[in-house]
């Protein structure tokens, strides 16, 4: 055996476990704001991930247990489940997670080789294939006209049947970003739209709480050095700057920058999705460019594009640019700096 002869304890498995741990505040906030349905979708996603991962590892003749234990498949599953509508039908989750792991991860060469963020690939596939289901969001608990019990949620997710007397519209509601978009199309001003009951908190009912909980988990990752500050800061900074510019230009047509930070997948994207090491940029300057690009594209898609939220597509577009970004941002090595004597 050659040197070095010692190694630090943390492994890929430890890192992924920490990421899952960091997601728990966000999940708790979800349960508080939207009910227990998210727990069901997380469970479906986790089971699908374990099955899909094992299946692909077996096909590729890899040892299943050591690779399952790295936890990366479950992280992908949780991130996708958190990005999907909480009361999504079971097959939507299964298709999304299976596509993410089988196609976006393993067909690209497995852990470490995927060019695109698997969770976001799964999300994009569902968004394009099943747009109607992707816009069925649960109404925040405070605004919903009816509530489903845990059993009711379970039954709806697996059979699509609702308890008698409850109409889908009573439990579902468009997301704050979606509402903003629709109402703007109806020629309302942002000022008028923001008076709607869903906007009583920044980013929308429920969104703000979840955003702060996600931020809490993100800060944990930052302080335990699982992630570096570059991507979240550049992402949120970029989003804030471009939103500010548009907002200053025409506050009646463009929402405030703080709204954009709190709404949709901005926080989850900044701390948990864009920080995926495999599909993200790796050099310090590259990470800044990568994060900034996602922030800008997210806003452009939200404000000017065809989808209410743009995080997934922004991440995928910037994933495609990573090899180029990395190649052009290599820092000088020791003794090759220009100011070296």
């Amino acid at each position: 055996m050659s040197s070095p002869h010692i190694a630090q304890a943390p492994s890929v498995g430890h890192i992924m476990t920490r990421v899952l741990l960091a997601l728990t505040p966000a999940i708790a906030a979800y349960v508080y704001a939207f009910g227990t349905a998210i727990l069901i979708s997380l469970t479906i996603a986790t089971l699908t991930a374990i099955l899909a991962e094992s299946f692909m590892l077996r096909l590729r003749r890899y040892p299943i247990l050591p690779f399952l234990r790295d936890g990366s498949a479950v992280v992908t599953a949780w991130l996708l489940a958190l990005a999907l509508p909480p009361l999504a039908p079971w097959w939507l989750i299964v298709i999304g997670v299976a596509f993410a792991l089988i196609v976006a991860k393993h067909l690209y060469g497995g852990l470490g080789n995927n060019l695109f963020n698997p969770a976001m690939v799964g999300f994009a596939v569902l968004m394009i294939s099943f747009p109607a289901y992707m816009n069925h969001w649960l109404a925040p608990a405070a605004l919903a006209q009816a509530h489903l019990s845990f059993g009711g949620e379970l039954r709806y997710m697996f059979s699509g049947a609702l308890p008698p007397g409850i109409h889908l519209d009573a439990i579902n509601m468009a997301t704050p970003l979606d509402t903003l978009r629709t109402e703007l199309h109806r020629q309302l001003t942002v000022g008028e739209i923001m008076k709607l009951p869903i906007y009583t908190a920044i980013g929308g009912q429920g969104s703000m709480l979840i955003a702060f909980a996600t931020l809490l988990g993100g800060l944990y990752l930052l302080f335990t050095r699982i992630i570096s500050w570059h991507v979240p800061v550049a992402f949120l900074g970029g989003l804030f700057l471009i939103a500010s510019a548009f907002y200053t230009g025409d506050p009646s047509r463009f929402a405030a920058p703080w709204f954009h930070l709190m709404a949709g997948g901005a926080m989850l994207g900044a701390f948990f999705i864009a920080t995926d090491p495999v599909s993200g940029a790796t050099t310090p300057r590259g990470k800044l460019i990568f994060g900034l690009g996602i922030g800008l594209l997210t806003y452009i898609i939200r404000a000017l594009g065809g989808y209410p939220d743009g995080v997934a597509f922004a991440v995928l577009l910037m994933n495609a640019a990573v090899p180029l970004i990395d190649a052009y941002t290599q820092p000088p090595v020791f003794g090759q700096k220009e100011d070296a004597p």
């Binding site: 040197s3 190694a7 890929v12 890192i15 852990l111 080789n113 050099t283 020791f334 700096k337 070296a340």
Partner: protein, 555 residues
């Protein structure tokens, strides 16, 4: 207080240094057999100057510096040379190397030696003295000191003395500084005399407060500064230490003297002092023996002492010892046998047990987490180098500065996928070296080939010229015809001289018939033998011989 600088990255592995520092330096007993390799330094092996059976004295030179980059080797004690043969040595290849086997007589009789009055001598003679006393860098690289102290060209403004000792477990420099600070300072004086630097600074990691105090006391009143530097692996790397103490970066692929700095290890300074002030060659060194042994300690050990004698000195290996390392856990070498001797590069031996050196978990794929890049002291992208090395994309690996890698192992240490990264870099480096060697050979072969083509062409034109000249002569054509006819006649004569054995008793008609057939056969056959085709054939047979000779000469 000196302004200190930082280099990028670095790690804080567990130290385990206190284990071997609570007892003073001991003296290892004389082993029953010393195994002294002739190659204990970077460069050419020393040239043997003793024979089996020779009686020898302590400090007697047994090998001369054989090249520009080489150093002498000496007998560590008095006794008799019993053999000169290949023996297992501490080398990554695991291959044996030529060693002088010495059976000590136990009398420790010194060869005549005397201090050198270096101030009265020209520097070159002082350097020759160091070379002939086998002084090499004891920090690990074992580069001959007489070459390092003769940088040539620009002036050296800063002399850096390396007392960092950043590798975990190792404490030999620490103990040397604690106990023999005055000798180190004398050595530094001699180096200062040779280099005349404007400033001299000793860098010691702040996890060695006793050594710092001892060196500060010894340097009191001397123009030598002692700097306590933050403990961070690999601060003891030459380029890293120079950066920390001066803020300057040695250029990539360059050497320290190019920026006016020379870096010397404290143990080297000490051997310089012994060689000059006492005339003693390098025949021993301080060695840490630690890890899974009964009583870890530092000992002054004669070079050539087998590892097993050191293990015995440390009270024996404890149960659970799996293997032994020479050097530290980060850059040390695994030894194949306990018969391997102490050499000038041996600062430490570690008995490895699973408790402190758990086997690494199986490697997982790289997830590009960039922890490796964040600890790299050279600011490389280890994950990219790994990717390129794995894909045999060596050109790209070189483009990403593979050869700036100092193999400190920091990237390996932090890798959450437990990929043996340094092994990949070593593989890529050796592949590139091999490819370059092949390329040089191929270039040479191509040059040979092109030259041969040119030469054949030239000979052809010369021949043609000669031929043209010859045919220009009037009678040359007739001469040729005559020669051909003569040859035909000779051949026919030869043929008729041979008598077929079974034609003696044949009837005359049969004999005539045979003669007629022979005549018929002979005619066309003779006509076909033209002198030209014969010459052609001759040239053909000559060709391979000429080629063979040519390649034999020029390769």
């Amino acid at each position: 207080m000196r302004k200190l600088f930082t280099f990028h990255g670095g790690i804080h592995p567990p130290q385990h240094k206190a284990l071997s520092t609570h007892v003073p330096i001991t003296r290892a007993p004389l082993p029953s057999l010393l195994v002294v390799p002739l190659r204990q330094h970077i460069g050419a092996a020393a040239k043997l100057r003793v024979r089996p059976g020779d009686p020898i004295l302590k400090g007697q030179r047994i090998g001369d510096a054989d090249n520009a980059v080489s150093a002498a080797v000496h007998a560590p004690t008095s006794g008799r040379v019993v053999a000169v043969e290949p023996r297992p040595v501490a080398h990554p290849s695991g291959l044996p190397d030529t060693c002088v086997m010495i059976a000590p007589d136990g009398e420790e009789r010194w060869i005549a030696h005397a201090p050198l009055d270096y101030s009265a001598l020209p520097p070159s003679m002082v350097l020759d003295h160091l070379r002939d006393n086998g002084v090499v860098g004891l920090g690990g690289a074992v580069f001959p000191t007489h070459i390092k102290l003769n940088p040539g060209g620009g002036a050296i403004h800063t002399l850096v003395i390396n007392g960092a000792e950043c590798e975990p477990w190792i404490t030999s420099d620490d103990m040397l500084m604690r106990e023999r600070a005055a000798g180190i300072v004398r050595g530094i004086h001699i180096i200062r005399h040779l280099l005349e630097p404007t400033e001299t600074v000793i860098g010691i990691e702040d996890n060695k407060p006793e050594a710092i105090a001892a060196m500060q006391a010894a340097c009191d009143g001397h123009p030598i500064e002692v700097a306590a530097i933050p403990t961070l692996y690999p601060t003891g790397g030459e380029k890293q230490l120079i950066k920390v103490l001066t803020g300057k970066e040695v250029p990539s692929g360059g050497r320290a003297y190019q920026i006016g700095v020379i870096c010397m290890n404290v143990a080297t300074a000490y051997t310089i002092y012994r060689a000059i002030d006492h005339g003693e060659p390098v025949i021993s060194r301080i060695v840490t023996i630690t890890g899974n042994v009964q009583s870890p300690q530092n000992a002054e050990v004669l070079l050539g002492t087998p590892l097993k004698d050191l293990i015995a000195l440390a009270g024996g290996a404890l149960p659970g010892t799996q293997r032994y390392l020479m050097g530290g856990p980060m850059m040390g070498l695994e030894l194949s046998a306990t018969e391997i001797p102490v050499v000038k590069a041996s600062n430490c031996f570690i008995a490895v047990s699973a408790r402190h050196f758990p086997p690494p978990p199986p490697a997982l794929p790289c997830i590009r987490c960039t922890r490796c890049a964040s600890v790299c002291p050279v600011d490389l992208r280890p994950y990219e180098l790994y990717w390129f090395a794995r894909g045999n994309n060596f050109g790209k690996a070189q483009e990403y500065s593979l050869f700036d890698c100092i193999e400190c192992g920091g990237c390996d240490y932090v890798c959450p996928s437990h990929i043996p990264l340094v092994q990949y870099y070593r593989f890529a480096k050796s592949e590139i070296w091999a490819q370059e060697k092949d390329k040089r050979a191929a270039d040479k072969a191509r040059q040979h080939h092109e030259f041969r083509q040119f030469r054949l062409e030239r000979e052809k034109t010369e021949k043609a010229k000669k031929h043209a000249k010859a045919t220009a002569g009037a009678s040359s054509g007739d001469d040729k015809k005559a020669a051909i006819q003569a040859a035909v006649a000779r051949a026919q004569a030869k043929k008729s001289a041979i008598t077929p054995k079974n034609t003696d008793n044949l009837p005359p008609q049969a004999q005539e018939a045979i003669a007629a057939i022979d005549a018929r056969r002979g005619q066309p056959r003779d006509a076909s033998i033209s002198p030209l085709s014969g010459a052609d054939r001759e040239e053909d047979t000559m060709k391979p011989a000429a080629t063979h000779q040519e390649t034999g000469e020029e390769r």
